[in-house]
């Protein structure tokens, strides 16, 4: 082992390895399966390690690892391991459109204004709902809402304009909210309508 390798390894341990849990979570949501996630993580860290010389110390190591992880995932997917539906969207469209009122919340506010139904939804169902999103929405929502990355970093990572990140977040969150609300209604976590106020 060379002295240079030891120096690089030290920097890697300090800057890259602390993000192992975050990269694993990301890989898990990308692939939807723990064994595939582990393979993705291993490949991601090995690639990062081998090209550690290209990394500028002190910059966004977490985003860089996410970028490698997603690229590895997309390359594997292209080989046919997983096929998501094609996301139809206007690239670069900034904003949710003319009506920002969330129809899911309008329904929820009638029956459960405190949103208590969220607390009744089990973790597995939340994970399932995230995994059912198309990849572009899933990746954007995970990076923003679970990993706390700023819009600009997500845009760079996914190689899209910030407006597209906003659009994907808007649509991905709406789909998730609808799925979780529908599940809560089915399970009886949302109080049923009484029908007493039909006369207005």
């Amino acid at each position: 082992m060379s002295g240079a390798a030891v120096v690089e390894r030290g920097g890697f341990n300090e800057e890259a390895l602390p993000h192992l849990d975050a990269v694993y979570r990301f890989a898990l949501r990308l692939s939807g399966a723990p064994d595939q996630a582990e393979d993705l993580v291993q490949e991601t860290f090995l690639k990062a390690y081998k090209s550690w010389g290209q990394y500028t110390p002190g910059t966004q190591a977490k985003s860089w690892l996410f970028t490698i992880c997603r690229n590895v995932f997309l390359r594997k997917r292209e080989r046919g391991q997983r096929h998501d539906q094609i996301v139809s969207e206007n690239i670069g469209r900034a904003g949710p459109g003319p009506n920002p009122i969330n129809p899911v919340w309008v329904s929820a506010l009638e029956l459960d204004p405190e949103g208590n139904f969220f607390e009744a939804i089990i973790d597995d169902q939340i994970v399932r709902a995230i995994d059912e999103l198309p990849e572009e929405y899933r990746t954007t929502v995970v990076l923003s809402d679970l990993e706390g990355l700023p819009y600009a970093e997500i845009a760079e990572l996914m190689e899209v304009p910030v407006g597209t990140v906003k659009s994907r977040l808007f649509r991905g969150r709406r789909q998730l909210q609808q799925a979780l609300y529908d599940y809560a209604v089915e399970m009886g976590y949302v109080p049923a309508r009484t029908g007493t106020d039909e006369s207005g």
Partner: protein, 97 residues
């Protein structure tokens, strides 16, 4: 004049400080929660949600939704055996294996 309009009037100190509309508050709710507002201050958006009974519940539900996501999928950690396997792989890569 509604209570909301009265408060809105009290808060109006000039063009730049005028309270934003319900439409704008709801349009900006994601950027507000994400700390990504552009062209409007966080204080102006907050001032609206603080006093608007129509919009505040939407903000509350958005926050409850984010909290549910973090609880459901944001706390998973890598298995310990993956961590140790990774350390071994990196050591092997060091030695050219």
């Amino acid at each position: 004049m509604s209570l909301f309009d009265k408060i809105k009037g009290l808060l109006r100190r000039g063009d730049g400080d005028e309270m934003i509309s319900c439409h704008d508050a709801l349009r900006l709710v994601h950027e507000y929660i994400d700390g990504e507002l552009e062209g409007v201050s966080e204080a102006r958006v907050k001032a609206h949600f603080d006093v608007c009974q129509r919009c505040y519940p939407h903000l509350h539900l958005e926050n409850a939704f984010r909290e549910a996501l973090r609880r459901g999928a944001g706390a998973q950690t890598a298995p310990p055996e993956l961590r140790s396997r990774l350390v071994e792989l990196l050591a092997k890569a060091d030695s050219g294996g």
